[in-house]
Symmetry: C2
Subunit: 453 residues, 2 copies
């Protein structure tokens, strides 16, 4: 199984070469459980199967029962539209079974990944001391950062002679619009949400200051999470205002830019991110709007030593990793040990295409959102719910019930016109576009909107 | 950046084809930070670079500053030796930017992944209702499982009218040999370790029962973690004994088989795992001894509904995922949302090669460990520290100081003879082999041991 096998390489390379030619990538379809199980029955047996048959089963059955996130007609959730260079290099990472745990084992990979982290940190205006690592997604990034926030606060509490153990009530300020992974993280790490109401769905410094002033125990609030691009509406919080309150009260300031952080590379919206330079920790998912393949999140700390103090794992067989010098072990900066070198595909694509091409591609998504918003404004039976801030657009079809939206969404997919799932807005079901793929065109948008007539 | 580019495909495919021919894969070398930074300087600029130049820089500089975990001479930590079929299919996963979040979007990929989880669950003797998902590593698997253990205990405490909130002291029983990621998890999720001393480094039911009997507050212990193959020594805990105590006291029984779980496929050691069929949750990392590429851990629950109740994320744009029927959303069973379909490479390789080939490859590692142990026993200046239980072998060179081991290890790597890092044993520095790659030979082992003469 471990020896070179040219027939197998030819077989898989031929398939991949064909897949890479798709332009555009088709949406494909949801799957039927019973049918899939029947196709798979008996496949994992003692003796194995002809590789060509297995690949054919995958190609004809399994891969068709997957909606392709890299289709320009995939406008649901947040799409994933890797550049060809990034996904080709993701194959290289696979090919070399490259790991990215420690400087000792993977200096070459880590040096390249750190170059990308530095580029992102520069865009955010974080200091030269900033650093971190690539993790598997926003959930892992938010978790890893907020554990550092919590433990750093605990250390300070202990230094002040105040209760700092599990009995100490700790709260983290968030807006009602915060991402589900942050709420999930709070349960995991045992902190309470200090919920602050938003102003037009935006978390402002003023609202945070007022909520803290009105609370009887503001000293239990140890951190604040701002969102740079809410997933549903693409709204960037008042980061400058939140940062100011964080400074006043010595709170950890975490910015979740999993979806929207890529906007740091787009001049037309860069101003919205002012204040992010004060973040203590920051997450952006390159598998979203920086055109990297699944799964890849960049996690950056202002002061990585605080993260290292929390996340470094001790085990006798790992002692050898923890030497002095300029070694940088990505495993020390997040909740993981083994780690795919998942930042390399982005590194290769950035090195090949240059930063300007990324700026252009991100601006394309922003322009699509603005042009779509205008088209919706100009269409009598449609109602735009807000001026798009980034690349998400929420809107209504006058007179439609919840069921109408779901039926419409299913029909769109069945006809392979688009994948647009409904979302919620003030308790109502509405429609939502998430633009990201630079190959999405206004013609596709018009085609979709026409089905609502 | 998003259009097919045949020149780029040819360039990268040619590189990969060459890399796939390496037999054996060379170990390669640690990197020098200053040199790497000089090579990378200015690479991420506005306009980009010639792809051939970037790939050449990677090939000649970066990739040589990575010690290849898939070399048969990589015997440190736990190696990663993917089958060629698995790493080729990992490329397919990259190629298709396949996501693995939800049944709606990725039924074909999830059905195949679930077929592999079922195979593993069958080997462990878990019931037909068992299920879970693939996560990025043992850390993520242990975290996800233990949060479910904690929250399930809290729910029971609440039902009994006992304190169940953050104020409730919760402890999880572990042995002093438990993996660092489990200790790390305890900090993250806010539970205390109930530490039980091991008997010959093995966590036994008897020791657990005695420790609970001697403790004034045994009711605060809510779970027990058994290790099926400690990372340092490859020792499988007394799973049957631990399971019995867990049943007596209604504790959640989690088995961390990140490294050793693969031994379930090896008849010569299968008996050691008796009792694992009682696990409430179980983790095994296919990127270790099931020959999958980084990063891939299988997380399986006896009753996945308990996990779903804890891990399902709510957000208005995700409502569409949570419908009734036979949908299986991997995102609901662990701490993640976005997810690479990281179980597929193992699925393809198992389908192609059959289970017997895996059994043979795992038995090869076990045999290497046994034969190496015998060779060490037969060598006057070497001392075997224990009879290997799985594929890790710890041993001493008579008369060597700590520094001797480190110097020896560095020289071995410099000479490309082997990558064998020292580890700790009762406070002493000793040598350790971790066998896994079926291409490792006793000739290589002899060559390494000869350098200790």
């Amino acid at each position: 199984m471990h020896r070179p096998d040219n027939d197998l390489v030819d077989l898989v390379f031929d398939y991949m070469r064909e897949r890479l030619q798709y332009d555009p990538v088709p949406l494909d379809h949801p799957g039927d459980g019973e049918h899939l199980r029947a196709q798979l029955a008996g496949l994992l047996n003692q003796d194995g199967n002809n590789p060509a048959d297995v690949l054919k089963l995958y190609d004809h059955e399994l891969s068709r029962a997957v909606i392709s996130a890299d289709s320009p007609r995939y406008l649901s959730f947040i799409p994933c539209a890797p550049t060809k260079a990034a996904l080709l290099f993701d194959m290289v990472v696979s090919c070399a079974s490259l790991q990215g745990i420690s400087w000792l084992e993977a200096a070459g990979a880590i040096a390249a990944e750190n170059q990308v982290l530095r580029l992102i940190a520069d865009r955010a205006g974080l200091p030269q001391t900033a650093g971190g690592c690539f993790v598997s997604g926003g959930s892992a990034g938010n978790l890893s950062a907020l554990v550092v926030a919590r433990d750093t606060a605990r250390r300070k509490l202990a230094e002040d002679g105040r209760p700092s153990g599990p009995e100490a009530r700790l709260r983290i300020a968030v807006a009602d619009q915060v991402h589900s992974s942050v709420k999930n993280t709070f349960n995991i790490i045992g902190v309470e949400a200090f919920k602050v109401p938003t102003v037009n769905r935006r978390f402002t410094g003023e609202a945070l200051r007022a909520a803290l002033a009105a609370d009887p125990n503001p000293e239990t609030v140890i951190a604040v999470v701002g969102t740079a691009g809410t997933t549903n509406e693409g709204i960037v919080d008042d980061l400058a205002g939140l940062a100011e309150v964080a400074r006043e009260r010595d709170l950890w300031f975490h910015v979740d830019g999993a979806y929207g952080g890529a906007g740091l590379f787009a001049p037309s919206v860069r101003e919205r991110y002012n204040g992010i330079e004060h973040a203590d920790s920051f997450v952006v998912d390159p598998h979203k709007w920086l055109f990297a393949p699944f799964d890849c999140a960049a996690l950056i700390y202002r002061n990585p030593q605080l993260a290292r103090a929390v996340h470094t794992q001790d085990a006798s067989y790992l002692d050898v990793l923890h030497t002095e010098g300029d070694e940088w072990n990505p495993t020390d900066y997040a909740y993981h040990l083994t780690r795919r070198a998942r930042g390399l595909p982005l590194w290769f694509s950035l090195a090949v295409h240059g930063v300007q091409a990324y700026t252009d591609a991100i601006e394309t998504g922003l322009r699509l959102a603005r042009d779509t918003a205008q088209l919706i404004r100009d269409t009598e039976h449609l109602e735009l719910l807000f001026d798009p801030q980034l690349s998400a657009v929420c809107f209504k079809r006058t007179g439609w019930t919840n069921d109408d939206y779901y039926r419409w969404s299913q029909q769109l997919l069945a006809d392979q016109i688009g994948f647009v799932t409904p979302t919620g807005w003030d308790g109502e079901t509405v429609a939502r576009f998430a633009f990201l793929h630079p190959g999405t065109t206004m013609e596709m948008v018009r085609e979709i909107l026409d089905t609502m007539a």
